[in-house]
Structures are given as structure tokens and as C-alpha cells.
């Protein structure tokens, strides 16, 4: 029994330490599955065990109360972490570790030889071979349903479009602008782009192709004789309708000079 306890604690502490955000290489879904009982069941379970030590068996009521008290105590933990200015992954990691240590203390000193696993007899959940197979089928079907819906949602693109933008290069420079084009036409597209300063052509990029989701970004020096009220303007033409002005953006002198 002592070995069981030690194993439980070692595994739980190890999980918490590994998962508490110091490691990135464990897939988040694995960390999620391991973290869930530690946050959404264990705190309440321990709290109830501490408050009501005479209640030994784990029944439906105990499970529900454990979940409920875990949610409630997690909210209380949050308030404490906020007051300690530690409401981050490290803070939560420490809080969960403390809960696991409380489990160790609880099972060692208050459990009177009862190991943690004995609280959860297999029969209490009615698990047998058929139930496990059923759970597996249900899990596969539900996961399949979610995957199907996710696929449908990800591929539901109502609009085919192209983004064009122009922003000052950075906050320290007033001599350059950044111009960008992103193709979201759901197909490869060809574009012409021209930049005008005070309605005079500064530069032209003819016939560049972008595949779906591809970006085209250029930094462009701007002459410093831009008058008040004038613009640096970018005009984009799509080869599907080459005579029609497809997109346009501009920066007024105010925005360029004050950057």
C-alpha cells in the first residue's frame, strides 16, 4: 500500500512538474487529459475527504460534490493567485502541486493505511468488458463527428478575396512604407500593383502571381516632398478583370510624417 501511495504521488508530481508549462514538447491534448482530474476533481475530493473523513465510499454523490467543490476551490485559488500577482502557468502549477502534496499528506496521515486507489473500486463505475467496448465505440463516433464538423467549418469559406494594405514601415522611420498583398481568392491569381505619389506613378509591379494564402510584401522608400493633403496610394489590379481597379489603399501625408 505504501508503494501504491508513493507511486501515485511520484506520478502525479512528475506530471504536474512536466506539464506545468515548463515543457512544450508534450502534446497539449495529453497535458489536458492529465490536468483535468488534477484541477476539476482532486481538489474537491480532497476537500471533502478532509471535511468529512468518515465518508469512505465513492458514490455518485461524492463524485458530483468533488467536481463541484473542485470548481469552487479553483475559483478561490484564482483569487489567491491574483492577490499574489501569480496568476500564470507557473502559479497554477505550484497550486496544483500543493494539491497533490495535500493528497500525499491526506493518504499518508489521515487515510490510516487506505491507499488512494482503494477509494475508486473498479466495480463502482460498473465497468466490464462490454462497457469498455461501448465506451470505445462511443468515443470513436463522437470524435469522428467532431472531426467531420471541424472539417466542414474549416472549409466553409464564403468569400474569395484579396487583402491589400499599406502602413508606415515602423514608428521610427518616415521614409518608407510597407505594402502587402495576400491572396485569399481560393485559387492562384495574378496581380498588377502600382504606387502613386501625389497622383504620379512612383513604381509599378506588373504581373506577379500569388498562390492561395500567399503573401507579397514590399518596403518602399517615399520621397520627402509630399505636400500637405496629398497621398501615397497603392492600386491593385487583378488579371481576372484587368481594367477594373480591384483594391486601393493610401496613406495621407499626416500619417507618414508623424510616424
Amino acid at each position: 500500500m505504501a508503494e501504491n501511495r508513493a507511486t501515485f504521488v511520484a506520478v502525479a508530481c512528475g506530471l504536474v512538474l512536466w506539464m506545468g508549462c515548463w515543457t512544450e514538447w508534450i502534446p497539449s491534448i495529453v497535458r489536458l487529459l492529465a490536468i483535468m482530474p488534477l484541477v476539476l476533481f482532486l481538489p474537491g475530493f480532497l476537500l471533502l475527504r478532509a471535511l468529512l473523513p468518515k465518508k469512505k465510499e465513492v458514490d455518485f454523490e461524492c463524485v458530483i460534490l468533488s467536481i463541484g467543490m473542485s470548481v469552487a476551490s479553483t475559483i478561490a485559488f484564482g483569487l489567491v493567485l491574483h492577490s499574489l500577482n501569480a496568476m500564470n502557468s507557473a502559479g497554477w502549477g505550484v497550486a496544483v502541486t500543493l494539491v497533490v502534496l495535500a493528497a500525499l499528506w491526506r493518504s499518508t496521515f489521515l487515510g490510516r493505511g487506505q491507499n488512494f486507489g482503494s477509494f475508486f473500486p473498479r466495480s463502482a463505475f460498473g465497468l466490464n468488458g462490454a462497457s469498455i467496448v461501448c465506451c470505445g465505440i462511443v468515443a470513436i463516433l463522437v470524435t469522428g463527428g467532431i472531426a467531420l464538423a471541424s472539417y466542414g467549418s474549416a472549409n466553409h469559406r464564403q468569400f474569395a478575396y484579396t487583402e491589400l494594405w499599406m502602413v508606415p514601415f515602423d514608428s521610427h522611420s518616415n521614409e518608407r512604407v510597407t505594402i502587402g498583398v495576400r491572396n485569399k481568392e481560393q485559387k492562384q491569381s495574378s496581380y498588377d500593383l502600382e504606387v502613386l505619389v501625389n497622383d504620379k506613378l512612383l513604381v509599378r509591379w506588373p504581373a506577379f502571381d500569388l498562390s492561395e494564402d500567399e503573401e507579397w510584401i514590399k518596403q518602399l522608400p517615399i520621397p520627402m516632398d509630399v505636400d500637405l493633403g496629398q497621398r501615397v496610394e497603392a492600386r491593385l489590379y487583378n488579371h481576372d478583370a484587368p481594367l477594373r481597379l480591384y483594391r486601393r489603399v493610401w496613406l495621407s501625408r499626416t500619417n507618414i510624417m508623424d510616424r
Binding site: 506545468g20 512544450e24 497539449s28 497535458r31 489536458l32 483535468m36 476539476l40 476537500l47 468529512l52 455518485f60 454523490e61 458530483i64 463541484g68 467543490m69 470548481v71 469552487a72 476551490s73 479553483t74 475559483i75 484564482g78 483569487l79 491574483h82 496568476m87 502557468s89 502549477g93 496544483v96 460498473g126 466490464n128 462490454a130 465506451c135 465505440i137 462511443v138 463516433l141 463522437v142 469522428g144 463527428g145 467532431i146 464538423a149 466542414g152 467549418s153 466553409h156 469559406r157 464564403q158 468569400f159 478575396y161 487583402e163 499599406m166 502602413v167 510597407t178 502587402g180 485569399k184 497621398r231 480591384y246 483594391r247 489603399v249 493610401w250 495621407s252 499626416t254 500619417n255 508623424d258
Partner: protein, 680 residues
């Protein structure tokens, strides 16, 4: 709480406990007022259940039959897959999608209910079937929005959660929902899971909401079981609770009510534990109750006050029926704590609820008053604000749902009071004033009286401003509606009756009630449609708008001050991490700047006062009227728009010298107006 006249003939200790609570007299069904004549009045009384005592403990079922639960679980999983096909079909514009989705809900729900209705089902099987039904319905919510939030309120809370993760502390102001950060219980738990596991806030929210749903239904079952002494009635009560319009989708959204309701049932369950606990366990249980109450107070204001009302009502009924001794110290302390803790929390947060809720209740009561005087505030039923009318089958299902609920209440109201030991409902002529009030089960009396909120919620739902309040009353009214109808149903299908037809009939009725509840909340817009719709929440949130919001974060940086319509505000605030202007925050309507025909002094003044940096113009607003009734937030800009805004008005900034046009995707245009906001 005891009844000296009860004849206990039960086999199990549980059933003895049940009888001691409800004052049951097993086997004494059908006892009516003596010397009553065979008149119509007597028949009406008998139909209503006056003078009929129908408390019966559950039959002793020796062993559970897991094969049924397994079959119901697989059926539910198949229904989830079918609902996924329907959701995808809706995105592809197939007309059968919405009926197909509702059909999958029925397929999921019906078998579980049909099994729960039967008398000879074990308690463990009832719990299993109930959990399958509840979590199966939750999965439909995941199927509906599998990748990102689509509900309006969800984005408000997502902003608060993002603020917690980014800032590392609570109470960061949230412009979209100023009251939200003061009640961060939901966001605390969700961000804890997200930060520890590394999953997104969305994924963490789905997990937490599923756990909250299991907690809610499990706690509700245990409460009903303790109050009525019957696992069968408890399971059916949970089933009928599910027909509340908010149960399936609204109360599983990423919003504070979704967490508050499970916490409320947790407190009620703990309160029940304190009443049944030994003296030594009272202190620890009360400590647990205080922790749960504090969590609830940190999660949602209205639910915390509703719980205080329920506990006060219970204490009041105990006081009336049994005097101060019947109330007892634990209940008195619980009721006092349920009032003091939320009030103290609200005071500590600066009492944000008054400004937030005051106008909502004021407008709702004004509209209800006009409605009762046949005024003009009536909502056009089954018609959305853009004029879309719900299909006939949906209208009929909703009407049938309300009719069945009313029928169930009529059938169960007096039977429930009788079950609670109310003398006049048992047909006992009152001899003294105190004998009128000498019921034996105050909790059941309270739950029965809570059903009176149901017609109130219906009246609110008929009005424009009151609709939302009517919707929010539902979860509390249905605490009573569920159990009262369940008691009525057990009368209709008494023990020993193995009629599959009767059981199927009740399961069909429960399924119709569930579908009607969902339709009255979601209607024809239950799924994301193929085509974009203007200001229609889930039908307006799509990748182009999301990418535009993401662009602002990437190329303009976070924290700029934007003015935008109500949908793009959400996207800019969450995906773009920008600050957005709302009338709720400053009292200035930035929407007027966007839709005005000219940029006059008034509009320039708003830009300066709100220190707006960028305007986000969505030309898709010109394509239709807003489905939910507002392009912005219902203030002046919306009131001046009786038709869709003109493109010329939205594009007026093209002609302003000091304005730059920094982004254009053909529909969304971002204007840089820092040259006008006076900060330069």
C-alpha cells in the same frame, strides 16, 4: 420534516428516508375527499390532482441492465455524427440541414427518456441514461461551433479570459462587457486549464463547460431525489428541466450563467446535506457551502441573488409551517450567507450591477406594462428582426411545447403540493389556520411555487425589451416546472404499468417539449448557414472578418482604439486585441460616425472624445437589415437607420484629407483617423 402519520412499508433505508422527507403514504393512492358528490367540480379537482396522494417510492430493482445504457450511449453517438452531417449540409446550403439537425436531437433524446419513464429501472441506470442525454446534447453544441466561438456573449467573456492570460491578474476592464471582469469565476477556471495544459482558451472552455454540464445535471438529479425521495421522479424532473429554452445551447455557451447554474445547484445540494447531516459534520459542510457560495458570487450576480431568493423562500416556508425551530441554525446561516456574500462581493467590486441591470429591468417592465395594456411593445412571434419567419413545423412544435408544459403543470401542480404534504391539496379540510400551513416538505412546496414564474417568463418573452429577461427567468422557473411535471407524469404512468405505448407517448411529449424549447431560443438560425447574414452573430462570424481582425493585430499592433459595428467589434477585441468603442462604455455612439452621410463637427467631436484611432468599415452592412435588430448596439445610430446604410455614407472618409485608408479586402476597409482624433 417528519410525518407521524406516515406508514412506512418500504424495503430499503433510502426509501424510508424518502418517505420521512416527503411525508409519503405509500400505497394510499387515489384517496379523495370524502363525501364529495359526482359533480363536474369533483371531476376537475380529480384531474388536477387535488385530494390525490400519489407519493410512491420507487420499486426495488434488484440489478441494473447496462445493455440499455450502452445501446442508448451508442445511439446518442450516432445522433452526434448525424448532427455533424446536418451542420455541414447547412454550410453547403442544403434545405434539409436544419430539420435534419432537429431530427438528430430527437433521435438522441427520445430513447433515453423512454427508458427513464419506465418504473422498473434501477437508479444507476437512470443516472447513466440521464448523463448520456445531458452530455449528448452538450456535444451538439460542440458540433455547432467546433473551431471557434460563435455566440455574441461568448466573445465578451473570451475578451476577459484573454485579459487574464495576458495580464496575469483579474479585473482588467473589458470595454465590451464592463461588468464581466467583476465576476470572473468562469474565466478563472478556463484560463487555469488553458495555462496548465497549453490548449487554447476555446478548447479549455469546451472541456470546462462539459464538466459543468455533468455537474449541473448530476447535482440537479441528487437534489430532486432528496426532495421527492424518488430516483424516477428525479430523473424525469431533469428530463423536463431540459425543455427549458436555455438549457441546450444558451446555458452551455462560454458565458457566466453556464458556470453559475452548476454552482447554484452545488450550493443547494450542500444545503440539503447540512439538513441531513449529523451535528459533527455541520461545521465542515457549512465551510464547504461558504466556499461554493463565494465561488458563485464571483461568477454571476443574478444567479447568486436568485439562489439567495430560493434559500430565503425555503427558510420562510419552514418558518411558516413549523416555526423558528423548523428553520434551524444551518438553514438560517445558509440563507444569511447567500445574501451577504454576493452583496459583499458586489460592494467590493464597486456595485457594477446597478448600472448594468437597472436599465434592462426598467425597459423590460415598461414593455410588459404596455403589453398588458395591449400597447405596441409586442414582439412579432416567430419573426426575426430582418423579417425572416420561422417555418410552420417550427411554429407548431413551439406551440405544442408550451401547451404540453402548461398541461403538465396543470396535471402536476396540486399533485406536487399533495406530495409535499400541503393539507388542502390532500383534500383535508382545514380545521385551524395553522393546519392550512402544516405541510411536511417545504422544499417541494417552494419548487412547486417556482412554477408560477413560468407564465411570467412567457409574458416577458412576448415583449421586445423583456424577451431577454423572460429567457433568463427560465432556468429558475424550470427548477419547479421539471419536478412538477415529473410528479404529474408518474401519476399518468403509475408503478406496475409497463405500457410501452404510454411510456413512448410521454417520451414523445418530452422530446417535443425539448425541441420546442430549443426552437424558441434558436429557431431557424440554429446552424451556421451557407451565406453571410448581416449582424446575425454565428451567421456573421466567418474567416474573412476574422482575418481582417488578425491583420490589425499583426500590422497595427494591439491596443489601438477602433470604432466598428457590433460583429467586427467582437472580432477586433478578441482576434485583433484592439480596444473598441461602445455606447455602454462612454455614452457616445461611435456608430453614428460610421453611418452619417457627412463627417460634420458632431462626428469629429465623437472621434476626438473617444480618441478613436481607426475606423473599421464593413461594406456588407449595406446588404441587409440586421438579423438581431441592431447594426451597432441599439443606440442612436441604429435608431436613425430604417434601411441598410448607404455605401456612400460608409465610404465618406475617402474624401477626408487627414484620413488614410490602410487596409482593403473588398468588404472591410480600415481607415486611420488619428489625424482627426486630436492626439497628434
Amino acid at each position: 420534516m417528519s410525518n407521524g402519520n406516515a406508514r412506512l412499508t418500504h424495503q430499503s433505508a433510502d426509501q424510508q428516508f424518502a418517505s420521512s422527507i416527503v411525508g409519503a403514504t405509500p400505497g394510499s393512492r387515489g384517496r379523495t375527499i370524502r363525501n364529495s358528490r359526482s359533480s363536474i367540480w369533483t371531476i376537475i379537482l380529480r384531474v388536477l390532482g387535488v385530494a390525490t396522494i400519489d407519493q410512491r417510492a420507487d420499486p426495488l430493482v434488484k440489478s441494473s441492465r447496462p445493455i440499455w445504457s450502452q445501446a442508448i450511449a451508442i445511439n446518442a453517438a450516432v445522433a452526434v455524427v448525424l448532427s455533424a452531417f446536418a451542420a455541414n449540409a447547412s454550410r453547403n446550403g442544403h434545405e434539409w440541414a436544419v430539420p435534419g439537425f432537429y431530427l438528430s436531437i430527437a433521435l438522441l433524446f427520445f430513447p433515453a427518456v423512454a427508458r427513464l419513464v419506465l418504473p422498473d429501472v434501477s437508479r444507476s441506470e437512470r443516472i447513466a441514461n440521464l448523463t448520456i442525454a445531458a452530455l449528448g446534447l452538450f456535444m451538439l453544441r460542440v458540433i455547432r461551433e467546433p473551431q471557434f466561438f460563435t455566440g455574441f456573449d461568448e466573445y465578451l467573456h473570451w475578451t476577459t479570459a484573454q485579459n487574464i492570460v495576458e495580464r496575469g491578474h483579474l479585473f482588467t476592464p473589458n470595454i465590451l462587457l464592463p461588468i464581466g471582469p467583476s465576476f470572473p469565476g468562469l474565466e478563472v477556471v478556463v484560463t487555469a486549464i488553458a495555462q496548465l495544459s497549453g490548449v487554447s482558451i476555446f478548447a479549455s472552455a469546451m472541456v470546462c463547460l462539459a464538466v459543468a454540464r455533468a455537474l449541473f445535471v448530476g447535482a440537479l438529479f441528487l437534489i430532486y431525489e432528496r426532495v421527492t425521495g424518488s430516483a424516477r421522479v428525479a430523473a424525469l424532473a431533469c428530463v423536463f428541466y431540459m425543455s427549458c429554452s436555455t438549457f441546450v445551447f444558451f446555458d452551455t455557451s462560454f458565458s457566466y450563467e453556464s458556470f453559475a447554474l452548476p454552482l447554484m445547484t452545488l450550493v443547494l445540494l450542500l444545503d440539503l446535506q447540512t439538513r441531513a447531516a449529523a451535528r459533527r459534520a455541520l461545521g465542515p459542510l457549512f465551510l464547504a457551502l461558504l466556499i461554493a457560495l463565494q465561488a458563485l458570487s464571483m461568477t454571476h450576480h443574478v444567479t447568486a441573488y436568485a439562489l439567495a431568493g430560493i434559500l430565503l423562500g425555503y427558510a420562510g416556508l419552514e418558518l411558516v409551517s413549523g416555526g423558528p425551530k423548523a428553520v434551524g441554525l444551518p438553514l438560517a446561516l445558509a440563507a444569511a450567507s447567500a445574501i451577504l456574500i454576493p452583496v459583499a462581493w458586489s460592494q467590493a467590486m464597486g456595485n457594477p450591477g446597478t448600472a448594468y441591470l437597472g436599465p434592462v429591468f426598467e425597459n423590460a417592465l415598461r414593455d410588459v406594462s404596455q403589453f398588458l395594456q395591449f400597447g405596441s411593445s409586442t414582439r412579432k412571434m416567430f419573426t426575426s428582426d430582418d423579417g425572416t419567419v420561422a417555418p410552420l413545423w417550427q411554429r407548431l412544435t413551439t406551440i405544442a411545447s408550451v401547451a404540453l408544459t402548461c398541461l403538465g403543470l396543470a396535471f402536476g401542480f396540486f399533485r406536487s403540493l399533495s406530495w409535499a404534504g400541503v393539507p388542502f391539496a390532500r383534500g383535508l379540510a382545514p380545521k385551524t389556520w395553522s393546519s392550512i400551513l402544516a405541510w411536511t416538505n417545504s422544499r417541494l412546496v417552494l419548487l412547486t411555487l417556482l412554477t408560477l414564474l413560468y407564465p411570467v417568463s412567457i409574458i416577458f418573452r412576448f415583449t421586445r425589451s423583456g424577451w431577454e429577461i423572460g429567457n433568463r427567468i427560465g432556468p429558475f422557473a424550470f427548477l419547479g416546472v421539471g419536478v412538477v411535471i415529473a410528479i404529474g407524469v408518474t401519476t399518468f404512468l403509475p408503478q406496475g404499468t409497463r405500457s410501452v405505448w404510454r411510456a413512448s407517448g410521454i417520451a414523445v411529449a418530452a422530446t417535443v417539449m425539448l425541441l420546442g424549447g430549443i426552437i424558441s431560443s434558436e429557431g431557424p438560425r440554429i446552424l451556421v448557414p451557407a451565406q453571410y447574414q448581416v449582424s446575425a452573430d454565428a451567421a456573421s462570424i466567418e474567416p474573412m472578418g476574422i482575418n481582417a481582425a488578425l491583420w490589425t493585430k499583426e500590422w497595427l499592433g494591439a491596443g489601438n482604439h477602433f470604432a466598428a459595428d457590433r460583429i467586427n467589434r467582437l472580432l477586433l477585441s478578441t482576434f485583433g486585441r484592439q480596444l473598441v468603442s461602445t455606447t455602454l462604455q462612454h455614452g457616445y455612439d461611435a456608430g453614428k460616425v460610421l453611418v452619417a452621410n457627412k463627417l460634420d463637427a458632431e462626428e469629429r467631436d465623437v472621434i476626438q472624445k473617444l480618441s478613436i484611432d481607426y475606423l473599421f468599415v464593413d461594406l456588407r452592412l449595406t446588404t441587409g437589415m440586421p438579423v438581431v435588430g441592431a447594426y451597432f448596439d441599439g443606440a442612436a445610430a441604429d435608431q436613425m437607420l430604417t434601411a441598410p446604410p448607404q455605401a456612400n455614407a460608409l465610404l465618406k472618409f475617402n474624401a477626408i484629407d487627414a484620413v488614410s485608408r490602410v487596409f482593403d479586402n473588398g468588404s472591410a476597409i480600415v481607415y486611420d483617423v488619428r489625424g482627426l482624433n486630436g492626439r497628434k
